[in-house]
């Protein structure tokens, strides 16, 4: 964007709270069931039915609000937001307006492009959270030919709407926030964060103005169904508005939709068509006072936020940003890492190597194993490779008892057979061998089988071709280690091979 312009972006994110039942009735709150199978008089808006607040929705909503550093209202109320739509059973939505569950929070997000992935700490941007309020979801319309069907399974499912102040300037910042928020609610077990299935939805409002001139005229963008679309949609919209203003035009206050097929925003409705929601207090629900016991329960459910944890892992474990971020993608994965490092240290591995090697294993073999098993990082607990076993492998390598080559075999066997690494090494004779006789036997066997390579290496050595010697010598060492079944101590094998090579060269 041009330097003389400034964009102001605010996001409204709706998250589906992971409660067993809906917000105001006891119907199952689930995605993907047979249409209209989870409905009752309350969530269908039958005459005479009344809402009853699900305490679990209130609790989870409060946990998210607190995790975003919002202050919880001592007494929170519900309002009716009125507009007619066929997927909304009562033609009003129970929401919150005057006294939202949480207000005035903030969240730190890594500023995109800031910092160096390999070392320097990320630049941080603090986003202010205006409010978090509870509300109910609507049903879903399915258009088929000239018929419209409605599925009310989702109607009445609990949503928390998280509203930011207009604190973002670019699409990339908004995308980073959304990814961060997704990670946070998953950490809290409050929402599965699945944008494709609609359990996390994002609307944005954006305005531009000459730098220093304050907010411009706001345009709302809907249908931003992935964090990538949030970035693309906002960047498109900012460019559109700047161009409009530059050309002497004015931005119209309107609602636009992101068209993912044409990579652009398109007008949905202009201000004149906008709803007057006629908010008024919901007379069917009493005000909810949040007492000390409730607040204590909420505080107890808070966990270290992912970005805080990422920064702590960088500081405490000496990880680079990319690796810390990867480990902190899921709470279970980060828990696994910290447990494995602690265990490796307990087994005598030094602090630095324990942190570094555990991270390397998790980025490599553990990720590979998860992919092979069709599991995500969050499901690392179901892999069959407890953190203690990974730590045992790390310790075995660190202590010199097994080689790096064998370590991978130990890992695979521990995973495949559910066995303890130390037992595997002992039972299968995988320990490194440094007995001179055994080393000599392995070296002799390899050289005998590789006569041509030996002759070539000896000639190169005589000719002083160091590069060639190094390559061929390495090849022969590998063969010798293989001849030992991978257990021969590489440095001893190397010494034995080099000695035999020197002798062969002299004999030329």
């Amino acid at each position: 964007m041009r330097e003389d312009y400034q964009a102001f972006i605010g996001l409204e994110v709706h998250i589906h709270l992971l409660t067993a039942t809906k917000a105001f009735c006891s119907c199952r709150s689930a995605f993907g069931d047979e249409p209209n199978s989870n409905v009752c008089p309350v969530c269908m808006g039958y005459p005479g039915a009344m809402p009853a607040l699900n305490a679990e929705a209130l609790r989870i909503g409060a946990v998210v609000a607190r995790a975003l550093h919002c202050e919880l209202s001592a007494e929170t109320r519900f309002e009716r937001k009125q507009y007619f739509y066929p997927d909304m059973p009562k033609n009003y939505q129970i929401s919150q307006f005057a006294s939202p569950l949480g207000v005035g929070g903030w969240v730190d997000v890594p500023a995109p492009g800031g910092g160096d992935a390999r070392g320097a700490p990320a630049a941080i941007r603090r986003i202010r959270i205006k409010e978090c309020h509870l509300e109910e979801d609507a049903g879903k319309m399915i258009h088929s030919g000239d018929v419209t069907l409605v599925d009310y399974n989702r109607a009445g499912a609990p949503l928390l709407e998280i509203v930011t102040e207009p604190d973002f300037e670019t699409g990339a910042e908004a995308e980073a926030y959304l990814q961060q928020l997704r990670r946070t609610v998953r950490y809290l077990g409050a929402c599965d964060g699945n944008m494709e299935e609609g359990s996390m939805r994002c609307d944005a409002n954006v305005s531009v103005n000459r730098r220093g001139a304050g907010l411009g005229r706001k345009v709302e963008i809907k249908n931003l169904n992935s964090s990538r679309f949030v970035r693309l949609g906002l960047d498109y919209e900012i460019a559109r508005q700047v161009e409009l203003v530059e050309g002497g035009g004015t931005v119209r206050q309107e609602t636009r939709l992101w068209n993912e097929n044409r990579d652009r925003t398109e007008v949905m409705r202009v201000k004149e068509d906008s709803h007057d929601y006629r908010f008024f207090p919901e007379p069917d629900l009493p005000a909810v006072g949040l007492d000390a016991a409730f607040l204590a329960e909420v505080e107890a459910a808070l966990v270290e936020p992912p970005f805080d944890r990422e920064r702590r892992l960088e500081a405490d474990y000496g990880l680079d940003r990319e690796r810390a971020s990867s480990i902190c993608e899921e709470r279970a994965f980060a828990d696994y890492y910290e447990a494995a490092v602690a265990e490796a240290r307990r087994l005598g591995v030094g602090d630095g190597p324990a942190a570094e090697r555990t991270a390397a294993w998790m980025a490599g073999d553990l990720r590979r194993a998860l992919r092979a098993a069709g599991l995500g990082a969050a499901e690392v607990g179901s892999l069959g490779m407890p953190a203690e076993r990974l730590a045992a492998v790390v310790a075995l390598v660190d202590s010199g008892r097994i080689s790096a080559t064998v370590a991978r075999k130990v890992f695979d066997a521990a995973l495949g057979e559910g066995a303890e690494p130390a037992d595997l090494v002992r039972e299968r004779g995988w320990e490194l061998v440094s007995d001179p006789a055994a080393i000599a036997a392995a070296a002799d066997a390899a050289l005998a089988a590789e006569g041509a390579a030996l002759a070539e290496a000896a000639a190169a050595l005589a000719a002083g071709d160091e590069g060639r010697v190094r390559r061929l010598s390495g090849y022969l060492v590998g063969k010798a280690i293989a001849a030992s079944g991978g257990t021969a101590d590489p440095s001893a094998v190397k010494a034995a091979v080099e000695a035999r090579l020197a002798a062969a060269s002299k004999a030329l």
Binding site: Y46, P47, G48, Y277, P286
Partner: protein, 487 residues
């Protein structure tokens, strides 16, 4: 007055009355006749005061398997899949719902004439209305077709028809009876209420229904230590002091108030028969040993205006769900959802309902809430404070129920505006959330007259005590043709 007991002829009795008054929209004739036959016979006793009793249910209260039309074409043919908590509790106490009673469409009226399913006539004079909106329930109890019936009271809809028909009408404290299953008109004002042939019966019904219900989180148990809460002890040890809002004090409050057409033009607030009955009731209360103290309720001036503003605002939201999409009548086909909803509502709602939805929508527009809805809420708070003051140290406030006895139709009927203004004596208890009891005190010119007592929150017992005492000392009559089946 006829008081013959004719156990075998109940079906004929029921049919004869219904042909004249039309109180029920649906009735299980066999069930109610069977209950009439077995009532009082040996073997039917035991199981509490409600065991074996049939009751009518206003057609805006859900009974599983019965119609739930609210007197509206919109819900023509709709059968409720569930029962209201109040109904379920009465069933658990041994009573049986036997039919649905006529009402003003969605409770919007004072005559039951806005029903889409025909009129209900007053058992005392079939040329007159039974009152409303719970007119069917009041008429059915007055004619002795059922010993009690459920109604709903948003601004007087139980008490006014009770007064018109000469039966007891109890509007409980807001929250004392679960609203789950009551089709909402104005949620913050209304309660399910009781129309009964005696104060004792009303008490038994209320006792069975009341108490917190998890399906209605605004419902509550009666707090401990409420004065007058001594049901079943037979002890009557209240302060025995009753405040009186005299018609003169009411007129003083209304003087100069804008919009309340019930005063300011020199017309007396009450018709002479009602005024005389009120004076008589005062005398009799004194003779029963109550000390009466005149009081003022200055905020009464704003009651009707505040009441209608709040009620219609809430109604505009509550009735939004009737769109023909999920249930109820709707056009056979429509080019788009908007047309479907417009078609369903245009065909389904009567004029009074449309008027009230429009006014309520108007009052809630963005930028106008302060002028209408919030101002009405401030007036409501003033009325609540006035009653708190009035009830301090007193058992109840004695007030008229309605300015007139049952009115006629056509030219005889007050204008729609006058009918709304006339709610001022009843609607203030709804605004204040307090219990109120209307009970008959006599018959004047062939029509019943009565008064009401307004009590402190959860003080229903104090009101019922006084009415029971009054009824024992000064029994009132029944309409011609009434037969006693439910002693």
């Amino acid at each position: 007055m006829t008081r013959t007991v004719c156990k075998d002829g109940f079906s004929a009795y029921l049919r004869a009355w219904e042909a004249r008054i039309g109180s029920f929209l649906e009735i299980d004739e066999e069930a109610v006749s069977k209950a009439a036959r077995s009532h009082g016979s040996a073997g039917a006793s035991g199981g509490g005061p409600l065991a074996g009793l049939p009751f009518g249910v206003k057609d805006n209260v859900a009974v599983a398997g019965m119609r739930l039309s609210c007197g509206s074409r919109m819900l023509d043919g709709f059968v409720s899949p569930y029962s209201a908590t109040a109904v379920a509790r009465l069933v658990a106490a041994g009573a049986a719902p036997v039919g649905k009673t006529n009402m003003d469409e969605f409770g919007m009226g004072s005559s039951t004439d806005t029903s889409a399913y025909g009129r209900t006539n007053n058992p005392w004079d079939v040329s007159r209305v039974a009152g409303g909106s719970s007119g069917g329930s009041a008429a059915a109890v007055a004619a002795g077709l059922v010993p009690f019936a459920l109604g709903s009271d948003t601004g007087g809809s139980v008490r006014q028809p009770a007064s018109f028909c000469g039966v007891v009408g109890l509007k409980p404290t807001n929250g004392a009876v679960s609203r789950f299953g009551l089709v909402a008109y104005a949620s913050s004002l209304e309660t399910i209420g009781v129309l009964a042939d005696s104060a004792a019966r009303a008490r038994a019904v209320f006792e069975a229904m009341r108490g917190a219900d998890p399906l209605d989180q605004t419902s509550r148990d009666r707090p401990d230590g409420v004065p007058g809460a001594r049901a079943g002890t037979g002890e009557r040890a209240g302060a025995r002091i009753i405040g009186v809002l005299s018609p003169e004090a009411a007129a003083r409050a209304l003087a100069g108030s804008p919009g309340d057409g019930a005063s300011g033009d020199g017309t007396p607030l009450l018709e002479p028969e009602v005024a005389a009955a009120f004076e008589e009731a005062k005398e009799r209360m004194r003779s029963l040993g109550y000390r009466l103290e005149e009081l003022e309720l200055p905020s009464l001036a704003y009651a009707s205006a505040a009441y209608y503003t709040i009620a219609l605002a809430e109604a505009s939201a509550n009735l939004a769900r009737f769109d023909g999409v999920r249930y109820g009548r709707r056009p056979a086909g429509a080019p788009n959802p908007e047309a479907l909803v417009e078609g369903a509502r245009a065909a389904g709602f009567g004029d009074e309902v449309r008027l009230r939805i429009l006014l309520g929508t108007f009052a809630l527009r963005a930028g106008f809430q302060d002028r209408y809805y919030l101002r009405a809420q401030r007036a409501r708070a003033g009325i609540r404070r006035d009653f708190e003051r009035a009830l301090a140290g007193r058992d109840a406030v004695l007030m008229p129920v309605y300015p007139t006895r049952a009115f006629g139709r056509g030219a005889e009927a007050p204008s729609p505006f006058a009918q709304k203004a006339a709610d001022l004596f009843t609607c203030c208890a709804n605004l204040a959330g307090l219990p109120a009891l209307a009970f008959p005190t006599g018959v004047s010119g062939g029509l019943p007259v009565g008064v009401q007592l307004v009590g402190a929150a959860f003080g229903e017992d104090a009101l019922l005590d006084a009415a029971e005492e009054y009824g024992e000392a000064y029994p009132t009559g029944r309409p011609d043709g009434y037969e006693e089946y439910w002693t």
